[in-house]
Amino acid sequence: MQVLIKRDQLNHAVQHVLKAVSTRTTIPILTGIKMLVTDEDMTLTASNSDISIECSIPFEEDGEEIVNVMRPGSIVLPARYFGEIVKKLPEDTIEIDVKENFLIQIRSGSSEFQLNGLDPEEFPRLPQLEEEKVFSIPADILKTIIRQTVFAVATTETRPILTGVRWNLHNGSLSLVATDSHRLANREANVETSEDLSFENIVIPGKSLTELNKILEDSDQLVDIVITDNQILIKYDKVLFYSRLLDGTYPDTSRIIPQSFKTEMVLNSRMFLQAIERASLLAGESKNNVVKLTSRPGEEVEITSNTQEIGKVTETITPASIQGDEIKISFNAKYMLEALRSIDSDEIKIGFTGSMNPFIIKPTEHDWITQLIVPVRTN
């Protein structure tokens, strides 16, 4: 294999696929990036236990030649070193020449590297997917709905199914749910799809979606999503992003979200967020970052936090409106902060159904997002 390639385009593609390279793995070949050059195109592939990313580099873009193939072929490059080398090479053009025994020669201007590559035949092949269930969504919306849910997934593997975000699709409405059993994030969105397409219980690992969001850009370019029984494929620009799906049945969350409330208040989201941020300052190092919220009808809402060895903080905030019973509730400030940050709205509505029951946070403008938090029991 021998090619001449523009550095910027190569670097762009390498940075994309690097997201699927695992630094720690039990199979050494997975620390590499596979480069495949045919007469028609050039692709880079990387794979780990959760995701695989394939990124193609066009031979020509806007009339400019990007890749010049002297000899097609393939090789697995050690990702850690290759990524850094490409970034720092001096000239705009890079020559990659693969010799015998998978020896790679990288030349650019005055610098020349020799790297030991690995056998491309050993590299796992990407899954071949039946493209039956396909729908499209603009990249910026996909990025947003992932951001608004993925933070709520469980980070420990004690209940593996909860480390993913559950996707359901019915009548062109996509619904995402994530929960770690202490809080829950729910987001709905309309997608372009054929009328009869629907699926349920598609659970995508949170880690995969976090990586996907690093690749997606804020553009209205359509992203095609292919769903099969155990894989999801996201086609975006020149990138093919594969992720495994989690096995198992996601718990039924539909009945968890309360529909009627005993206390409802509307708050300025920025002020409320800042008040919670200040209140959580005194939480110290303890993980149980508990904040207490107290309100009486027609009065100000009081937020307090008390850590015995550090001190006490009291905040008051005037709600835009408040109705229903008085409420006294404690919750983990971290969950509240993450929920508030995910809602891009000036005003939020919080609905309580008693101090021991979960409460929800929604934007006042629309119903697409629901954030639910389970209170902390205090004595």
Binding site: T25, T26, I27, R125, T156, E157
Partner: protein, 642 residues
């Protein structure tokens, strides 16, 4: 008027008693040792109220002649050594001739003794060192000493006695040690009519261990035996899952005498290297026999301290023997202790059906990680070999090994016929220690294959791999497993590194003691060979000009000091040992963490590499990697078998 006088004997004995008779257990020790020296094979110790009100030691030894009974209470009277030469060939436990007069000086002592030759025995009574009574009595062969009201005439000493409980503890510790030293003597220890210890005296050390530490511990003991020109070593070490919080369970017995020798205990612990968790110590009983010329017991009246002439050889023998004994074991902890068959005593001969060995062949590995799986054999584990002696003596000429060749695309079966590989445990101790490191990285055909070929089923909590084999379920800690693999890899790589020194712009200033300074001066060359360049900097101070590259950042001074310490103690620098610590921390960082999903091929790759590591049982920090539930145990838990 002369102020200086020679003390009378009685006072002298009371002073000596202060040193020899510290507490009731010292009395018991002296009396029981006398009994042992009198070749008794049955010794009964009965104490009341922690030994303060009464201590009775009776034996069936050869007794004391009537006319010698009184002589025994003279200072420096002993039957155990006769002339100066004997002092350097001590075969008996006592020899100083101080015990009896010292005890007699601080108590009411009654001695009854009869020799086999005489028809009647003698009874004498001594109070505070003064002979009160002497008479002829009838009694069985042997000697019985009763010590009453210990310290009755030294109230200061009596005041400092701890609770009865503590004193009983001391006595029972002492008898435990003596029983371990003399499995051929039947000991009975009673306190206030309660039996605290009873050994059979049938000569089996394992039975004594069972009597002291319990049968479950005794079942986990691994026997060991080895000798060199000067030393003979025998005993038992516990499998690493039995650990204790302190070193007192490492019992070392030299020529039948319990001794405490710190380097010796350290050698035992080194034998367990990487098998024990931090701050845990093994249970072990080691009997060492050597020519009395090679040791000096006459260091302290308690005779616990001992000095060896060929200490280095002895320590290497102990360390190597312990390590090899443990390496031969399948060290996978099993959840239920009862099922661990008595490895040491049961050796039933049973026919064994030889199997068609189905081994999974992994894909060829990359060049950078040279852990090739070639010719990996699934042999019966050593446990099976040990429990069931091979019935068919000459092994069949060929064994059928079906190997599964796994490809990312297709599975194909490939039958492979191979000759059986005999169990290869390198026998030479010294070489093996070094070989171990060499094998570590490229463990191949001759690595002891003690973990069977496992078939991963699933992952638990993203942390443990559940794997099955015909003989049951294995649970493997994925982080610990990879830590072990990397540890051996890094250790090997570090060892091959050339010594590259990094010159320091700002040298490290090192202040040392005068003794250290002397050692450094003598070994400057040696230090620079390992990459540490030192220059004298005034008296008792040095500056470090250059350091080897492998020293982790921030630990430069500590490592150099450790090297100097090694020089002072052993006159050499063991770089491998120092680098090992670096390897442990590197391997921990490189290994996959808990809470991480693994695909099936990843689990298979991990298990295959683990099997090839030289020690697939514990991680470098000594935590276990694998836990095994045998099919039988699982059946038992479900009450399918009763």
């Amino acid at each position: 008027m002369g102020k200086i006088k020679i003390l009378d004997d009685r006072l002298a004995n009371m002073i000596a008693a202060g040193e020899v008779v510290e507490r009731p257990s010292s009395v018991v020790k002296e009396l029981v040792e006398n009994a042992i020296d009198a070749s008794a094979d049955k010794i009964e110790i009965v104490i009341e109220e922690g030994g303060l009100s009464s201590i009775k030691v009776s034996d069936n030894g050869h007794g004391i002649e009537r006319d010698e009974c009184r002589l025994a209470f003279e200072r420096h009277a002993t039957s155990k050594i006769q002339k100066e030469r004997d002092l350097f060939h001590i075969q008996t436990l006592g020899f100083r001739g101080e015990a009896l007069p010292s005890i007699a000086a601080v108590s009411r002592l009654e001695l009854k003794s009869k020799t086999r030759e005489s028809d009647s025995g003698t009874r004498i009574l001594i109070e505070g060192g003064k002979l009160k009574e002497e008479q002829e009595i009838g009694m069985p062969d042997g000697t019985e000493v009763i010590v009453r009201d210990l310290f009755y005439n030294t109230p200061a000493r009596l005041k400092y006695m701890k609770t009865i409980h503590t004193e009983v503890g001391h006595v029972s510790d002492l008898i435990n040690r003596l029983a371990l030293s003399h499995p051929d003597i039947a000991f009975i220890l009673k306190h206030n009519d309660k039996i605290l210890l009873k050994t059979m005296g049938d000569g089996s050390l394992l039975h004594v261990i069972a009597a002291i530490y319990g049968t479950s511990t005794a079942k986990m003991m691994v026997p060991l035996e080895n000798d060199s020109i000067d030393f003979t070593l025998k005993g038992y070490v516990a499998r690493p899952e039995i650990t204790r919080a302190n070193r007192t369970y490492v019992t070392t017995i030299v020529n039948g005498r319990y001794i405490r020798n710190y380097p010796l205990i350290q050698a035992v612990i080194r034998g367990y290297h990487t098998l024990l968790p931090i701050n845990r110590y093994p249970v072990s009983v080691l009997h060492l026999d050597m020519d009395p010329v090679l040791m000096d017991v006459n260091v302290h009246p308690s005779k616990l301290e001992i000095r060896f002439s060929k200490e280095q050889e002895l320590l290497e023998l102990v360390e190597g023997t312990v390590r090899r004994a443990l390496e031969k074991q399948t060290l996978i902890p099993e959840p239920s202790k009862q099922s661990a068959a008595g490895r040491t005593s049961i050796k039933t001969e049973k026919p064994v059906q030889t199997d068609l060995e189905l081994t999974r062949k992994t894909r060829p590995e990359s060049a950078s990680f040279n852990f090739q799986v070639k010719g990996t054999k699934d042999r019966p584990t050593p446990k099976e070999i040990e429990t069931f002696q091979k019935w068919v003596q000459p092994e069949p000429e060929t064994e059928t090994t079906g190997m599964i060749k796994e490809d990312s695309q297709s599975n194909e079966w490939n039958a492979d016929f191979k000759n059986p590989v005999p169990d290869q445990h390198p026998e030479n101790g010294e070489e093996q220690t070094e070989n171990k490191m060499d094998q570590a990285g490229m463990a191949g055909e001759n690595s002891p294959d003690r973990l069977p070929v496992l078939d991963p089923l699933a992952q638990l909590h993203g942390t443990y791999i559940l794997a099955q084999h015909e003989d049951g379920l294995y649970i493997i800690d994925q982080h610990a497993a990879q830590e072990r693999i990397y540890y051996e890899y890094f250790l090997n790589r570090l060892k091959q590194d050339t010594i590259e020194s990094q010159n320091l712009l700002v040298p490290i200033h090192l202040e040392v003691t005068a003794a250290e300074s002397q050692v450094i001066q003598e070994n400057l060359d040696l230090l620079s060979q390992v990459g540490v360049h030192l220059e004298p900097f005034g008296s008792n101070a040095y500056v470090v000009r250059a350091l080897p590259r492998w020293i982790p950042e921030g630990e430069e001074e500590a490592v150099v000091r450790e090297m100097i310490q090694m020089l002072v103690e052993n006159k050499k620098i063991n770089v491998v040992q120092l680098r090992e610590e670096a390897a442990i921390s590197m391997s921990c960082k490189a290994a996959i963490k808990a809470n991480r999903y693994l695909t099936r091929p990843e689990m298979e790759a991990l298990l295959d590499k683990l099997r090839e590591s030289s020690n697939p049982f514990t991680c470098p920090h000594g935590r276990p990697i694998t836990i095994h539930f045998s099919s039988y145990e699982i059946q038992k838990m479900f009450k399918r078998v009763m």
